[in-house]
Symmetry: C2
C-alpha cells in the first residue's frame, strides 16, 4: 500500500513521572536534555522515580501517530521486541491505522523505554534506554518495507544506533528514486552535537525538509545566534521548518521565509511532543499540497494542543476547528 508518510525511527515506550527540579540535579541531567543510558542505569533511574504512566512514544513515532490520527495514511519502521512493551507500541500504532512494517523481534534486547521526568514548569527531561531500537538493521530497509511513500520522515536519534546512518541513507535513496521526499527531524541539540558532520552531509545529500528547533539549528550550523543563521537558511537547498517556542515558527524555502506566530496557551501541562506534533500537523497539510503558511499554521495548532495535555501524541480532533482550505 502506498502511504503519504513513512516514519523510520526509534520505537520507544515512554515512562512519564512528575519530579521536582532537585531530582534532575541528583541524577546530573540538564533540564530539557535527552540522555542515552544503558540497561543498568535504566533500572536505577526507574527505581528512583515515583509512580509512572506508560504510553507509546518516540519522537518520529509520535509524529506518525499524530499524522494518522489527523486522517493521513501512514506507515512505520522501527524495532521493538515481542515483549509487553513492544505489544503496547505496536497496538497503539495499528489502532490508528498505521501500517507497521516490521514484526516485533523474537529475542534480542527488550523494547526501548524513555524515562520522561516532568518538572513543575512543564519541561521534560529524558533518560532513554534504546534496547531493541539498536537492533534495527540496514537489512530491514528494503523496497518492500519502504514502499513508495510521498514523504519519509527520519529522526536524528537514529544516528545513535549502530546501523542508523547506513539505513537512513538507504531509505532516503529508495524514497527519492520513487519520487518521494525525505524529511529529517533533528531530535535535539545534544544529538546534533553527537553527529554534527554526519547530519550536515546527510542534509546536503538526502534531505528535502528539515524540522528543527532553534537550538538544534544553531548546533547544526555551529552558530550562536538565530539572527546569524536565519538570513542564510532561505538560500540553502532544503525546506527548513524552525520552531521557536513562544516566538512561533519560521519556514524557509527558496529564498523566502514564512513567519507563524505562536498561539495562546491556556494552561501549559507538559511540553512533551510539542515539536513532534508540529511536524505532524505541518506534514499533514504539506502532504495535501497546501501552501507553507497553512502548513505552519496546522503545525502550530497541533503543537499548541499537545502541550496542554499529558503525553506526547495528539488527539484525533486536534485540528477540528481548522479548515486547511482547498
Amino acid at each position: 500500500m502506498s502511504v503519504q508518510l513513512l516514519g523510520i525511527s526509534n520505537a520507544i515506550v515512554d515512562i512519564l513521572a512528575n519530579v521536582e527540579p532537585e531530582f534532575l540535579e541528583k541524577i546530573d541531567a540538564p533540564a530539557g536534555s535527552m540522555t542515552l543510558i544503558d540497561e543498568k542505569q535504566a533500572r536505577e533511574i526507574y527505581k528512583m522515580m515515583g509512580p509512572a504512566t506508560e504510553m507509546s512514544g518516540g519522537s518520529v513515532a509520535n509524529t506518525v501517530a499524530g499524522f494518522a490520527n489527523l486522517g493521513g495514511s501512514a506507515a512505520y519502521i522501527g524495532n521493538v521486541c515481542n515483549d509487553q512493551l513492544g505489544d503496547i507500541f505496536v497496538h497503539d500504532m495499528q489502532s490508528l491505522g498505521v501500517d507497521v512494517r516490521l514484526p516485533p523481534a523474537t529475542g534480542g534486547s527488550p523494547t526501548a523505554r524513555s524515562h520522561i521526568l516532568i518538572t513543575p514548569d512543564g519541561q521534560r527531561t529524558m533518560q532513554t534506554y534504546l534496547g531493541a531500537c539498536t537492533e534495527l538493521k540496514l537489512a530491514d530497509i528494503t523496497a518492500g518495507s519502504v514502499g513508495e511513500p510521498d514523504i519519509a520522515l527520519l529522526e536524528g536519534y537514529v544516528w545513535d544506533i549502530p546501523e542508523g546512518p547506513a539505513l537512513c541513507a538507504a531509505a532516503a535513496e529508495l524514497v527519492r528514486k520513487n519520487g518521494g521526499k525525505v524529511a529529517l527531524s533533528l531530535s535535539d541539540s545534544f544529538c546534533v552535537e553527537r553527529h554534527l558532520k554526519e547530519f550536515a552531509d546527510f542534509v546536503e545529500k538526502h534531505v528535502d525538509l528539515v524540522f528543527a528547533d532553534e537550538d538544534e539549528l544553531l548546533a547544526l550550523y555551529e552558530l550562536d545566534s538565530f539572527d546569524d543563521v536565519a538570513p542564510d537558511l532561505a538560500e540553502r537547498a532544503p525546506l527548513y521548518a524552525v520552531t521557536r517556542s513562544e516566538k512561533g515558527s519560521v519556514i524557509y524555502k527558496d529564498g523566502e521565509s514564512v513567519q507563524q506566530d505562536a498561539l495562546a496557551v491556556e494552561k501549559l501541562v507538559d511540553t512533551t511532543g510539542a515539536g513532534d506534533a508540529y511536524t505532524a500537523g505541518f506534514l499533514y497539510a504539506y502532504a495535501d499540497d497546501k501552501p507553507l503558511d497553512i502548513c505552519a499554521r496546522a503545525g502550530t495548532i497541533c503543537a499548541t494542543r499537545v502541550i496542554q495535555q499529558v503525553g506526547a501524541r495528539i488527539e484525533k480532533n486536534a485540528m477540528a476547528d481548522f479548515d486547511l482550505g482547498d
Copy 2:
C-alpha cells in the same frame, strides 16, 4: 514492619482509552460495569481499542497507593507475574514506600490488566483479564506476609479468584487475632450479586468496616431503595461508609449516622478510582483515630480530587489544604 494498612487484592495494570458510547454497545458491556474476560477476549478488546495509556490500578491497590501517598504506612499482598507489566505494578507501589509482601511469580499467567473504557461523560467501563491474580493462593497468607497491620483492607473482587474466599478468611482471622481491624470494599454491584451469600456471611463474621456505594449496598441487602436500607444499617454491627455520588456519603456506626455532602467539582474528567480514593482518605484519617466526620471529609476530598484527573491514583498533595486536626 508493622504498618497501618495492609491491602489484599487483585493486582492489575490499567489500560485506559477514550471510547464513544457506541463502543460499549458493540462489545455488549453495560456502561459502568466491570466484566471478567479471558485471555482471548482480552486480546480482542485490546485490538479494537484505540491508543491507550498504561498505569498501575486495581481497586484496593489504588487505595493502598493513595494511603501511602498521603503519608500513611502501608503494605500490599497481590499476585503479579515477573513480566514487564508486573514490574510496573511493583515499581509503582514500592516507589510510594509500600511494602510489597510477595515477589512477582515466575511463570504462570501474565500480569492482570483491566481495559478501562472512558466515555465522554467521564464514566468508566472495565473489561478485566485477571491473569496472575487468579494464582494468589491461601498459602500466600501467612503470619509473615500479613504481619500485624492496624487495618487490613480486602476487596470483593478477590472472591472472583479460586482461593479468594479462603485466603480472605485466613487473613481476617490473623489480623483480628493481633487486634487489627478488617475492612472490606464491596467492589461493584455485579460482583456483590456474584457472591451475595458469601459476602453477607463474611461481613457478619469477619468485617469491622464496609466500604460500598449505594448500588453495592442495595445488592448486598437485596433491597430496591436506599431509604429502605439506611434505617437498618446503623443497627448492624460493622461500620458502613456508603458513597452516594453527588449526594455525598453517609457513615453508619453504633446507631448513629454522619452525613458528608459532596464537594464542588470544577471539571469531571474520569470517575475511575473515586471510591478507591474515598477509602484511602477515610482510612488515612481513621488510622489516626480521627472522628468519623473528619474521616468522611478526608475521603470526600480525595475522591473529589481524583475525578478531576486522568487515572485512579491520588497525588501526594490531595489533602494539602485539609487539616485533620489533633
